[in-house]
Symmetry: C2
Subunit: 414 residues, 2 copies
């Protein structure tokens, strides 16, 4: 039986719909990959009674209770006093945490307030967990047969703390059998289409291999899970991967943790090539995805966001007549943008995007979501039209993924 976890998110702002709780989603995924089973997620407000009731209720049901939120320095943050009350203990100032907080303020050159110092006051029975990038320490409690962990609600602080200390501690305490995940990463095909292509392979999979389809924006990950990470199961899984790859090869861009923008970087580096981008409707998002990869400066020269038609013309020499005749969202415009940004930025590959992200700007001929993507290298200058049907934010994000996939496909052809 896998260990059972309950996640509690605390905060009025989540209950009132002002903050989207992404913490419990992220934690779920991490626990799942350790083979820990999340049986329930609970969100409650900054209310003493609710917090105490749900701590007690969860203790009955789960092996571990992971709590996020309510650890700020202000008086509406109740998690710490409630935990202190729940465990019948009192607060004690922790000198190590205090000096960590002091150090953070010193390095940043800020003045430290008494309410910040009070963040070093922790329930006497907890094991403090250092927050390497914030002032609210985490707390680990062992209560009879249940572990309680309290973490800050700020997503990046929580994630760092989980990765640095909590996940390793949970793994040590609760995980007997190791769980082994292998991931095949596909792009440019939908979940149901993919399922159709591989259904015969799926039906013959050994019972010891669990298959999951994990769709994300414009991409689907296939996850093969086995428990007991030994040589035999590893070989078994690899044999199944070798069987399925020929069926879906043209959609597979990578394996395991590799994101599509990392795969592009890997491909460009292997070929000793550099990339330049001219993106209009995506407004910098494609460049942001690319530069989110550490070390991308090795293969990415830069990008240009010609949001106005004037800049498309003046900076990237797209003929005004072409823009007037075909519109900025058109094949000749993205062809010219890709070709010219490649040349101007002295790069091996040029990519361009021009589209109508919405909500305004659509016409019957070119509705919101119409996006042209262009590609140019030494041998090719090609373009493709996409029709997305989402809102502004999603049209932008899907366009960037489609452009990355277009780079992949064209680099593969070389």
């Amino acid at each position: 039986m896998p260990a059972k976890a309950i996640l509690i998110s605390i905060g009025d702002e989540i209950l009132y719909g002002q903050t989207l709780d992404t913490n419990s989603h992220w934690i779920s995924g991490e626990l799942d990959s350790l083979g820990i089973r999340v049986i329930k997620k609970i969100t409650i407000g900054d209310s003493r009674e609710e917090i105490l009731d749900n701590l007690a209720e969860s203790e009955k049901l789960a092996d571990m209770v992971l709590i996020t939120g309510g650890l700020g320095p202000t008086s509406d943050d109740l998690t710490k006093p409630c935990l202190t009350e729940y465990f019948g203990t009192q607060l004690e100032r922790n000198e190590e945490i205090l000096s960590h907080i002091k150090g953070m303020f010193e390095r940043a050159g800020w003045e430290m307030s008494e309410s910040n110092a009070m963040q070093a006051d922790l329930p006497a029975n907890c094991t403090p967990i250092k927050n390497s990038i914030g002032t609210a320490a985490g707390m680990w409690f062992d209560q009879n047969d249940t572990v309680f962990v309290s973490m800050p609600g700020v997503p990046f602080e929580m994630r760092q703390m989980m990765k640095d200390s909590i996940l390793p501690k949970l793994k040590e305490k609760f995980v007997r059998d190791t769980i082994n995940h292998r991931m095949i990463r596909t792009i440019g095909i939908g979940e149901s289409k993919l399922a159709e292509i591989i259904k015969d392979w799926e039906s013959q999979l050994p019972k010891t291999i669990k298959l999951a389809y994990l769709p994300t924006m414009g991409a689907v990950k296939l996850r093969l899970t086995t428990s007991g990470d030994n040589a035999t199961t590893q070989k078994l899984v690899q044999a199944e991967i070798d069987k399925v790859i020929p069926l879906i090869e043209k959609f597979v861009y990578g394996y395991e943790d590799e994101e599509i923008e990392e795969a592009i970087g890997r491909m460009l580096k292997a070929k000793g090539m550099t990339l330049a981008v001219a993106e209009s409707c995506t407004g910098g998002y494609l460049s942001h995805k690319i530069t989110s990869v550490p070390g991308s400066s090795q293969w990415f020269n830069g990008s240009f966001v010609p949001y106005s038609n004037q800049l498309k013309n003046e900076q990237l020499h797209v003929d005004m007549k072409i823009i007037q005749e075909h519109g900025a969202v058109s094949e000749p415009v993205v062809l010219a943008l890709a070709k010219n940004v490649r040349k101007e930025f002295k790069s091996d590959v040029g990519v361009s995007i021009s589209g109508i992200a919405g909500p305004g700007g659509g016409t019957p001929e070119k509705p919101v979501g119409t996006v042209w993507i262009g590609y140019a290298d030494a041998k090719k200058n090609v373009a493709k039209k996409f029709q997305f049907i989402r809102d502004r934010e999603l049209n932008i994000k899907y366009s960037a993924v489609a452009a990355l996939n277009m780079i992949r496909i064209n680099l593969d052809k070389d």
Copy 2:
């Protein structure tokens, strides 16, 4: 007392971290704006026992229980059989819903299966709610003093159903008093510093006004909540806002729903000015934030991401000698970038960012997180150094917010 709601999301894919639950977030916001108080959100898996337990538990605590998910045509969808069991009733085929489903399949030209027809089998005691864009009907139950509503988990089907029928029905049945939120949006000051500045004001607030600090990246929102949205409470809240604003004026960029990038757009539009950006270490993220605002093409001309030093020199005429002498992350470089992108892109304001996002590239003098931001308009050309202490992703995001704040401060000075 406002009516109390509990939201239950059902689905293994949410518990396992495969699907981010945005439904309960959206429903919370809608109920909040009606003045219905969400007291708890629960996520459970596709498990009969869990569903029945949580229905019973929720009935004790809430006036309404809104359930999403588990209504699909496959056997792992358990919501409908569980509701039928919970209310001690049986399924009956609803002819009206059946003909709606038939019509949908006919219009799409698909063949209808028996499992689709079974979606018209509904618990005898429910009021069916038509799903105008899908096959899973909603169900409304009045059980003693609690209303139960079951909806599909597909976000756009659920939203349509809520808007078309459920929200109006809930409003009619439950809404006496409305809840009123006012929001003051600050930037460039931390939560605890802000709390210290306004602590006297906070302590004299009338008990009927509830104050919350909502920190997000580089910004803190102050939310004042009252119930009973009538002229008296509105005046009372406004009087408190008028009192606090003078204390924190220089940090306040806007009110209610306005994001900082929207505030920048509003300010530029009011002055009839346009903006151009040259961003290096942020790699397009600042431009992405700006262009996430619908209609930003009215005041944003475009941006340039000169990721390599060569491009800084060739495209934006930053003297190579300056780059060699001071480094790309330096005051003279961001001053030149801001000035030159303003001129090249024929804009009223130019903003530039150059920094070390990490993880590599740091030195003892310029550690990871060192970021210079430049600003130029017709009268000024200024720069400021920031020291962030986060990881690559966060250094990028904080830098973009700092640049937006720098635009705000300098526009304010004009």
